[in-house]
Symmetry: C2
Subunit: 251 residues, 2 copies
Amino acid sequence: MRNSMNLLLLHPDDFISDKHVQIRGRRLLHLNKVIKAKPGDYLKAGRLNGKIGRAQLLSIDSDIAELSIELTDTPPPALPINLILALPRPKVLRRILQAATSLGIKHIHLIASWRVEKSYWQSPFLEADKIHEQLILGLEQSIDTQLPEVHLHPLFKPFVEDELDTIAANSTRLVAHPQATEAIGSTPLNALTLAIGPEGGFIPYEIEKFAELGFAAASLGPRILTVEVAVSSLISRFAVNLENEGRSRHN
Amino acid sequence: MRNSMNLLLLHPDDFISDKHVQIRGRRLLHLNKVIKAKPGDYLKAGRLNGKIGRAQLLSIDSDIAELSIELTDTPPPALPINLILALPRPKVLRRILQAATSLGIKHIHLIASWRVEKSYWQSPFLEADKIHEQLILGLEQSIDTQLPEVHLHPLFKPFVEDELDTIAANSTRLVAHPQATEAIGSTPLNALTLAIGPEGGFIPYEIEKFAELGFAAASLGPRILTVEVAVSSLISRFAVNLENEGRSRHN
């Protein structure tokens, strides 16, 4: 996936005053090479975990760009879905983090599962700055500023027994499971905690542990999807139900 | 994306009789290296554009595998969505073809658009056998046998003026458009023709041409998604509406 920088996302270090920022590195390169921005140009900009608005380019060269900013709008609403995901292969993880972020997910828990290769937990892609990078790309793509939180849980049992109940508090609980007999419904939802297994699915013991906490196993139908497609597909499917709930509450 | 071979998909050339097949090449390698199949083992198998059932491995070595087959079940239902997609970057196209196939799409039209780089049409990935390969991977992943049709339309105007009305006959017509003011609804649908633009979207002239044919421009909300995520997201979103229609018809 090559994301577009649809938003110039401003980090705390960029600010030299409330109305004035300096940009270097990757974003500067993008301004120069892709956008070919010139002094006077306006760009959509937003402050990390803050408001969105516009920036006007004051000066730019190969070392630094200076912009004045005016940030007035709130970022798009978050999707009230907690994503619990069996740790995918590192290369796929990057794309999934970007995709989930761009879809508006704010809480991602990467967990162990029997079918997750232990070696994945050693991947450099799991280092905090590498994960941060993917989240930033997802925000820039989707014109959002609210940084998602990503939590790593390399042990399945303590996660499910000690943490999951709190994480899923006040939300509908679902675990996607190819062998489930219940189809995923279209009931309006307030908030959702959605668990998605590894390629090959969670093992019966794991499904049982989820069930003990009230997670209903729901099937996507006879088709088996890659984890990557399943994540986008399931999030989008439930986004509809969450919106319907929004509508019925407001009508 | 690395697809799983959840189905041993049998091609016409594999058959030495109705009940007996010989496998070589990529699928043989998969049987040997990934599945580590042994004589006597059963595998899920299906005939391209035919039925699904099981195969029993009779013999296997590094050159050839022989299997007896029993194909009794119909493949999963197709999703009644015609996908009209501005030709994506070749690398992304491969993943999108696999994803759309795995989600059950059977009609894909790759079209020109102002923001599609002309050079994409010269990509070797657009050769018929390269496209076929991605579709096969999507079918193997999703345990389906019905090969999608992919049509290339390198000229926008003749496609829209001379072909699109027939393609979209008897279906709801939607074009995904970030600037649209109408949100995508949740009305049950019978069948859908869904047009998705390139990164940056269709240009106003193109949206107008779609509108002349009754395509409503619908927004996914304030977030801009990559084409890859948008395709999985939109298909899954409408799959819900199509299922709801199925339910209401059957109740």
